[in-house]
Amino acid sequence: MGRYVLRRLLQLIPVFIGTTFLIYWLVWSLPGDPFSGKCGDRPCPDSYIAFMTEKFNLDDPLIVQYGKYMADLLTGDFGETFRGTSVGELIGEAYPNTIRLALVALAIEAVIGLGAGILTGLRGRGFLDNVVLVSTLFLISLPVFVTGFVLQIVLGFELGWIKTTVTASPAPWGQLIVPGFVLGSLSMAYVTRLTRTSIAENKRADFVRTAVAKGLPQRRVVGVHLLRNSAIPVITFLGTDLGALMGGAIVTEGIFNIKGIGNLVYRGILGKDGLIVTGVVTLLVMVYLLSNLLVDLLYAVLDPRIRYD
């Protein structure tokens, strides 16, 4: 197990470097003046350009720039924006909001998705099954921003049940329920379908028949024998989804005005503030890779037949 983790961690390094370098290259070294539009409508003064070029090592070859940036990053220094605020602080303020939002979304999709999936998987074909299938199809086809807008209009403006924007930072949990639902709605549909297929397949498996034949109560057959064996594809999906949720939060955060990572990075891109973008994306990639690793390790817990060494 230990060697497996080590090997996986070593494999992460080239991927991590590749992805962050790709982003760095995209953000910093495309043809065009990096200072265009940085100083409002007029061109930037020469002294400013000289200062910034010095500060961000813009004269070095790209690979050296990237190396210096990564070296700073490893010591926990995210650098400063063009306006002089510390990127680390900005991320520190925004991150809790996004993590909360992603956790709410993950909880909603796990509870509703797993519940609906188990229910329909156990019952088999019938009215309920069709209702769930049709509604998941519908959720899959609905773009997130449409779901967001419609819920915002209906629940916020028309019915007045929720606040249309999340004002406070850190965002209170209660206000995040609807945005979390919007963010998680697509994945919820996938979780439902995966669980349903997985349970329907395992329902006829030998080990379930054995468990029933042994006279185990229904609760134990379903809760332990069936669920644990059906959980692997669902857990895989949920694990990879955590990273996707954080990256996908841009739209949801924009609609509900949550001051999270997505909002930060979007403003960074529009304001051409490369350090914000690279910093946030690096962090997101790290979360994504680590959650994938965690999922792989969870396999062994769920299914003791899987051995890593």
Binding site: V27, F145, A244, V251
Partner: protein
């Protein structure tokens, strides 16, 4: 469906079983009149599915809208009259007018073209890159496979919306770009971020196909690598990729709308559903119909492709029956 990569993970998990199709099908059908090929068997099965018929009809309708919009409406989508700004649906304009006084029905019809063009070309490009690399990686294995898989991991690690935003904003900052340029950029950025999924699906299918007896037989007969790949492995490994392509097409149409909505994809004077939804953003409370109709068409189109993908998957995969 704004994030095709998550969409694809859902598809990928279940499509890996599609290789079961290969051998058993022919045995079953020999009993009837004459043996049917896998494709014609799937087609025979598909025609009997209501899901397939409905979704195919919807898609045909949308494609017709994209090809000959004048068939459906005679109003000019780019003629705005501020006098009729934000008027609700009426007999003159079935879907009402938007903030600029444009006829929403006519714009919705014309908007199909941009969405379909972007969706189809992004899908074709994704499949071309992903399937080629996946086939090569699956066939050769070894260090080629390792290298390609790592490269795929690099692109896979980028969150979709974020990656697309970065690519689009970086490449577009060099002066004004024309509508076609933006469209090409949108297509490129969608494919660049989606090909790893397709490659993984193709790779696993190719690895399964490579171990089959017919590949060994072909090799024993002295067939060249290119012949084995193109004539033996490709036809047998393409099924899961086709399923992915159908679902991804829907997802890409949604992705284009999301990017346009964020102000980074297509924009006026190009008419697309995403642009219309983005335009409706500020008047959403006074004129909800300007959001509702394009969003409904967008959802219906994506839905049609997802349903088609589901139907195709079930037809190609006897395990699901």
């Amino acid at each position: 469906m704004t994030d095709p990569s998550t969409a694809a993970t859902g598809a990928a998990v279940t499509t890996t079983a599609a290789e079961h199709v290969t051998a058993a099908e022919h045995v079953e059908t020999k009993g009837s009149n004459k043996p049917r090929s896998l494709a014609s068997d799937a087609w025979y099965d598909l025609r009997r599915r209501p899901l397939f018929v409905i979704s195919a009809a919807l898609i045909l309708l949308v494609v017709l809208m994209a090809l000959v919009p004048t068939l459906f409406t005679s109003a000019d989508p780019n003629y705005g009259d501020l006098n009729r700004s934000r008027q609700g649906p009426s007999a003159d304009a079935w879907f009402g007018y938007d903030n600029q006084g444009y006829d929403i029905f006519s714009r919705t019809i014309y908007g199909a073209r941009a969405s379909i063009v972007v969706g189809v070309s992004a899908t074709v490009l994704t499949i071309l890159i992903g399937a080629t690399l996946g086939l090569l990686a699956g066939f050769y294995g070894g260090w080629i496979d390792g290298l390609m898989s790592r490269i795929a991991d690099v692109f896979f690690g980028l969150p979709f919306v974020l990656g697309a935003i970065v690519i689009l904003s970086s490449f577009r900052s060099q002066g004004e770009s024309s509508a076609t340029e933006i469209m090409v950029l949108v297509v490129l950025s969608i494919s660049l971020l989606s090909w790893p999924v397709c490659m993984r699906i193709m790779r696993s299918a190719a690895i399964t196909a490579k171990q089959q007896d017919y590949v060994k037989a072909a090799r024993a007969l002295g067939a060249s690598s290119s012949r084995i790949i193109l004539r033996h492995m490709l036809p047998n490994a393409i099924a899961p990729v086709l399923v992915y392509a159908t679902i991804a097409l829907g997802a890409f149409i949604g992705a284009e709308a999301t990017l346009s909505f964020l102000g980074l994809g297509l924009r006026a004077p190009v008419v697309s559903w995403g642009v219309m939804i983005a335009d409706s953003r500020d008047v959403i409370r006074v004129a909800p119909h300007s959001l509702l109709f394009p969003a409904a068409f967008l959802t219906a189109t994506v839905l049609a492709f997802v349903m088609l993908g589901d139907a195709v998957r079930e037809a190609l995969d006897p395990k699901m029956r």
